[in-house]
């Protein structure tokens, strides 16, 4: 798999710092499944975290802290080493961080139709900052042309799409913000399934999708 479009470093740094909201973290984590190069960046950013933590002045732990921990440890088994795998039952089209949220094969999801060519599945997270959803665009069809009141992150899971910016395949991330308008068009070979995260309602150029917006909360 050849990933060509990566999350920008500002996302990687905040993800590593733990200061990126849950919804935005979802496509970043899913992209990392595809991308050794971004995993290296995360490793570097986490080492920045370790460095900054090392330089903190120390605050002493309470006197019996270690005893409490030891007592708790005695009641727990250690996790097995890193070789075991439990992924066998998982649909390979969903990267594991996303599977943790969706928990269902893509074909079995209760997709909600947004017009004839596009369907969505809303993903529940606990942050109020942004909304994550899966979008399924029929092969060769498009999402109506829209702009963004805020940021929109799109991670391709299967198939691919192109828009005014570039062509995106599995593992690729598009990061749009501000006033950029685009019309994603799915490839002709197969349906395109993406994870899309937005922090503001989309701005559709045409009347009909605008009319449907309050119903679909997109």
């Amino acid at each position: 798999m050849n990933v060509n479009h990566h999350p920008e470093d500002d996302l990687l740094v905040s993800y590593a710092a733990g200061s990126l909201a849950e919804s935005w973290s979802l496509p970043v984590a899913a992209h990392l499944s595809h991308c050794p190069s971004c995993r290296r960046s995360i490793d570097l950013a986490e080492t920045v975290g370790a460095s900054l933590m090392q330089r903190e002045e120390v605050v002493l732990m309470s006197g019996n802290a270690l005893d409490c921990i030891m007592a708790e440890i005695d009641t727990l088994p250690q996790d097995p080493p890193a070789s075991t795998s439990t992924i066998s039952e998982i649909n390979s089209r969903l990267p594991q961080p996303l599977w943790d949220y969706v928990g269902e094969d893509l074909d079995n999801l209760p997709w909600q139709k947004l017009g004839g060519d596009v369907a969505q599945f809303v993903i529940k997270t606990s942050d109020r900052e942004a909304q994550a959803r899966l979008l399924r665009i029929k092969a060769g069809k498009s999402v109506p042309c829209h702009g963004h009141g805020g940021r929109e992150l799109t991670l391709v899971l299967c198939g691919g799409f192109h828009d005014e910016v570039a062509e995106f395949g599995p593992g690729d991330m598009e990061d749009l913000s501000g006033e950029a308008f685009h019309q994603p068009i799915a490839g002709n070979q197969e349906d395109c399934i993406c994870l899309v995260v937005t922090d503001a309602p989309l701005r559709f150029q045409n009347f009909v999708p605008r009319l449907l917006q309050p119903i679909f909360k997109i």
Binding site: V13, E22, D43, L44, G49, I73, A82, S83, P97
Partner: protein
């Protein structure tokens, strides 16, 4: 000038072990003495870090204890060839904090996932000796400009989102993003990495 504590070495039976050695021993042989040494060296730093991020002393204590319970449980998954003990402990503490303080889940990659595209050959950053890597990164951070260091610190030490950094510094959101990108690119270059 704060006197530098010697946090890199544990002393077990008169022989010096690096933190990474100690953690590896916890993983391979459930070595409680190694665990206690590691706890004494790192726990007060984790606690200070949590308080810096806004936790009360009680909550910081709780998060740190929970972090070390996880360090024990997950120690068998630690690979000293892949990361330093300090980096590994940082990631666990960060995740416990998100669970506890933000009450959010953290979408995270399970390193065991077979779908992971195999890694490429080692890069300069990966080849740095794991016992030195945190020091190397510390020097690189010191080379950043004050502006660049500030956005990194606000992300890690105060836990601010991009928008919160923009509000705090009264600069546009786009400037926050570009500063973070510039800082990180500079760190990457200074550690011999390519994007």
């Amino acid at each position: 000038m704060i006197p530098e504590l010697n946090t890199k070495q544990g002393d077990a039976g008169g022989v010096k072990f690096s933190h990474s050695d100690l953690l590896a021993r916890v993983g391979t042989s459930q070595d409680r003495e190694a665990f206690a040494t590691l706890f004494e060296a790192l726990a007060p730093r984790v606690k200070a870090y949590m308080m810096q991020l806004g936790a009360t002393p009680d909550t910081a204590e709780e998060i740190t204890q929970e972090t070390f319970v996880k360090v024990w449980r997950k120690a068998a998954q630690y690979d000293p060839n892949k990361s330093s003990a300090a980096t590994w402990a940082f990631t666990i503490a960060r995740n416990v904090r998100i669970d506890t303080l933000r009450k959010e889940n953290r979408p995270a990659l399970d390193p065991n996932e077979p779908m992971l595209v195999p890694d490429e050959p080692q890069t300069p950053f990966q080849e740095i000796e794991k016992s030195n890597v945190v020091d190397r990164v510390t020097s690189s951070i010191a080379e950043l400009s004050a502006d660049q260091r500030e956005v990194i610190q606000l992300s890690f030490m105060v836990g601010l989102s991009h928008q919160e950094i923009a509000n705090r510094l009264q600069i546009p959101l786009g400037t926050v993003k570009s500063r973070l990108r510039l800082s990180f690119e500079k760190l990457r270059l200074s550690l011999g990495e390519m994007r």
